[in-house]
């Protein structure tokens, strides 16, 4: 059965490995993937541990629908206490690792301790071995994977690893697989590096039983056709996520020059430029959207290099945020962060922040070792990427993330940084969009667009359509507004999206197949059917919502245990004090209104069943069965 996959507990300090079954009872409470990982994180860590110390636990998982007939059932989830924020560390990546982990017999890995020297895990058809990784320590992300495949003598082995950035404990280092499948945000790569765990290799030939194969095939075919037919999919198939830039930049919804502008004026880094360098597109496991381009860099010192992507976030990191207007810089920057294994969002945001500090004289040529961190200086940006990954000079400071770097730089550097809970925001400018602003302020892992972004808020959908989406599967009678500059009704949208993304991350499928960028795609009704046909688990849409609610509330509890208060669910002053200077009239002159924002937070807490300080009320905990955590059932 898909539900017969095991959990493995691996102690890197003493080499002990234990495996166990995952009780059905736990599946009904958390399903798998991120939900289960949040449970494991809460139960297996103690308050106040050092995220880069041996007591942190690294969790790696496939979703409960991984490698089954659920279209893009490809996702790997990784969690730990974050070395960047000190709160929930959680990341999700596509590619082919999670399916291989499942075929190898495992759904969850719980990795504790620290190895004495660099090691990698080798997971092969039910067996787990700890192997020496000194030959691959120091290698770039893709080279690591090829080297391990060669060492094991099997081209089909799939590997997830940290890059040199993770080895160097850059606090926003990624876990990676393939050329570009990145588990970014919150620094899970640094946790791997801190444990001397270079990689996890998997290879499996074990059956994953599909409970109702004929129905699963028929239903998945419907899903695949449905996804394939939406306009959004067709655009993604051609351009990847870079198509978003065309709309958001011309409107004025992107951060430029850190936070000084909300548009790259005269921007010339359109997605169409990918056609000059691309030789095709590729997809993750089972996916029809195949949204990443395969390209060869044509200009400059990296000419001839094959890389994949880039994503919209790299257009931001190496374009708008740093005031660069050169598509080749985006292509190269993307390749560099994917080779070093570093978060493209955080890297771009930290460099942009450093550039504003340089402009204001808070950082000088002495601090930058002569590097001119001026807006639009492509070479300086790319050089800074290297210095951060290798922790050289100013790079060593920026590698510490917003709060620690600001402390080291001193003066009033922090007030220029755009972060929430110590994690940088991506390149979107939320001043005109209260719903999106609420999302990044309340996200459990810090400033983040993938916990709860109601991206469809940007489509001005009519109220009846919004009601159909946001009134199911749990009832909602409050207001819903179509205008993205509005404050009314947005807390429900944010809460609802939190639930749907949590559910998707428990199932292990790709968010692009859900109500994320398109209002016509999968939601709780479809999750329920996919779950039944593939695993036999009978859960109604409401029950799946409840799983998501339980897991998300547990994330909140973890954060509170680590010191989270209401004050953390807020935005930096610049959102409230500096109006957007450019863009279309609808987004110009916008700030977030403090009073209205406060009311949105209050309403958001109420919807969750939390008190005015953001603490889950006792009756909420009881309802979700969380009043007895930590429970250690698993």
């Amino acid at each position: 059965m898909a539900l017969k996959r095991k959990i493995a507990y691996i102690n890197l300090s003493n080499g002990e490995i234990e495996t166990a079954s995952i009780p059905l009872e736990m599946r009904k409470l958390y399903l798998g993937g991120r939900g289960m990982d949040m449970y494991l994180l809460y139960n297996h860590t103690k308050q106040g541990i050092d995220p880069l110390g041996p007591d942190n636990v690294l969790l790696v998982s496939a979703g409960v629908l991984g490698a089954t007939l659920a279209s893009a059932s490809s996702r790997t989830h990784v969690a730990a206490k974050s070395p960047l924020t000190g709160f929930v560390g959680s990341t999700n990546m596509g590619g082919f690792f999670a399916p291989e982990l499942r075929w190898a017999g495992f759904d969850h890995l719980v990795i504790k301790g620290k190895a004495k020297k660099p090691v990698y895990l080798w997971i092969n058809d039910g067996e787990i071995e700890i192997r020496d990784a000194s030959n691959v320590w120091g290698q770039g992300v893709f080279d690591t994977q090829e080297s391990i495949r060669q060492e094991l003598g099997d081209e089909e082995v799939k590997v997830m690893c940290c890059g040199p950035a993770g080895e160097n404990l850059v606090r926003f280092a990624n876990v990676m697989t393939g050329l570009k499948d990145a588990g970014g945000r919150t620094g899970m790569g640094a946790v791997m590096g801190s444990k001397n765990l270079k990689a996890i290799a998997a290879r499996g030939t074990m059956d994953i039983e599909i409970k109702h194969p004929e129905q699963a095939l028929a239903y998945d075919e419907q899903i695949v056709n449905k996804v394939n037919r939406t306009k959004f999919t067709q655009i993604m198939q051609k351009w990847g996520t870079m198509f978003i830039y065309g709309v958001t930049n011309s409107t004025g919804l992107v951060r430029c020059q850190n936070f000084q502008l909300n548009q790259l004026v005269g921007g010339d880094i359109e997605c169409e430029y990918i056609e000059d360098v691309s030789f095709g597109t590729e997809g993750c496991f089972g996916c029809v959207i195949h949204c990443r381009h395969k390209y060869i860099i044509k200009e400059g010192p990296y000419a001839g290099t094959y890389a994949q992507g880039p994503e919209y976030t790299s257009q931001g990191a190496f374009g708008m945020e740093v005031g660069c207007n050169n598509f080749n810089t985006v292509l190269v920057g993307n390749h560099l962060v994917n080779t070093y294994g570093m978060d493209t969002l955080e890297t771009g945001s930290m460099i942009a922040w450093a550039m504003e500090l340089y402009e204001k004289g808070i950082l000088t040529d002495k601090d930058t070792d002569g590097l001119r961190l001026e807006w639009g200086n492509d070479e300086a940006v790319l050089e800074m990427v290297r210095r951060i990954a290798e922790r050289k000079g100013l790079g060593d400071i920026l590698a510490e993330g917003p709060l620690r770097a600001a402390k080291k730089i001193g003066k009033d550097s922090l007030k220029y940084n755009i972060h929430v809970k110590g994690m940088s925001n991506l390149h979107s400018d939320e001043r005109p969009t209260p719903a999106l602003a609420l999302g990044i302020a309340t996200s459990s892992r810090g400033s983040d667009h993938l916990r709860s972004r109601p991206a469809i808020d940007l489509y001005h959908l009519p109220e009846p359509v919004l009601r159909k989406i946001y009134g199911n599967p749990t009832p909602y009678d409050g207001p819903l507004t179509s205008d993205y500059t509005d404050y009314e009704g947005k807390p429900r949208q944010v809460q609802w999206q939190e639930m749907v993304y949590e559910a998707v991350d428990c199932l292990g499928i790709c968010k692009y197949h859900t109500i994320f960028l398109s209002p016509n795609l999968l939601s709780f009704d479809e999750f329920s059917e996919l779950l039944y046909y593939n695993t036999g688990l009978e859960m109604s849409p409401q029950e799946i919502w409840e799983v998501a609610d339980r897991a998300y509330t547990l994330e909140r509890l973890f954060n509170i245990r680590e010191g989270l208060t209401r004050e953390h669910d807020w935005l930096v002053d610049r959102y409230f004090d500096e109006p957007t200077p450019v863009g279309l009239p609808v987004v110009r002159g916008k700030t977030i209104d403090r009073e209205k924002f406060k009311k949105m937070i209050d309403e958001y807490y109420e919807l969750h069943g939390w008190d005015e300080n953001g603490l889950p009320r006792p009756e909420t905990l009881e309802k979700l069965g969380l009043d007895k955590e930590p429970s250690h059932k698993l």
Partner: protein
Amino acid sequence: MQKILIVDAEKCTGCRACEMVCSVKHEGVSNPSRSRIHAIKWEAEGFVLPMICQQCESPPCMAVCPKDAISRDEELDRVMVDYDLCIGCKMCVAACPFGGMGIDTVARRVIKCDLCDGDPTCVRFCQPTALQYLPLNTANLRKKRSAGLKFAELMTRFA
């Protein structure tokens, strides 16, 4: 109607959905090692090629079989294994130049593509249309068309 399952490698995005749906259709499980089709990848070069049984006219697998368990089904233009006769010697696996004959270690028998009795499941699920099921005698026309388009574009410039 005789049709061929033809691969257009350029279109393949490497998603491997074909591998999964094949093993589910035939064995009720998701397990690429029990699939009849595989998307073989050269990751460093960004190249992927779906590989299956070519349903040969003069199959080497049929030629080496000591029990005449392999035969051609002319109606669907496919090569079939009769499991009542097969002794599992696996000579066919060695003989096939394409790796088209696989070994299923769960069912304990050799496996190959049977075109799903005329409605290949992998073709249904291949969104990029890298896998197509076309009449044998006109199967190459689509490729002529898409290759010809490149010349057509060039020629219109000089018209």
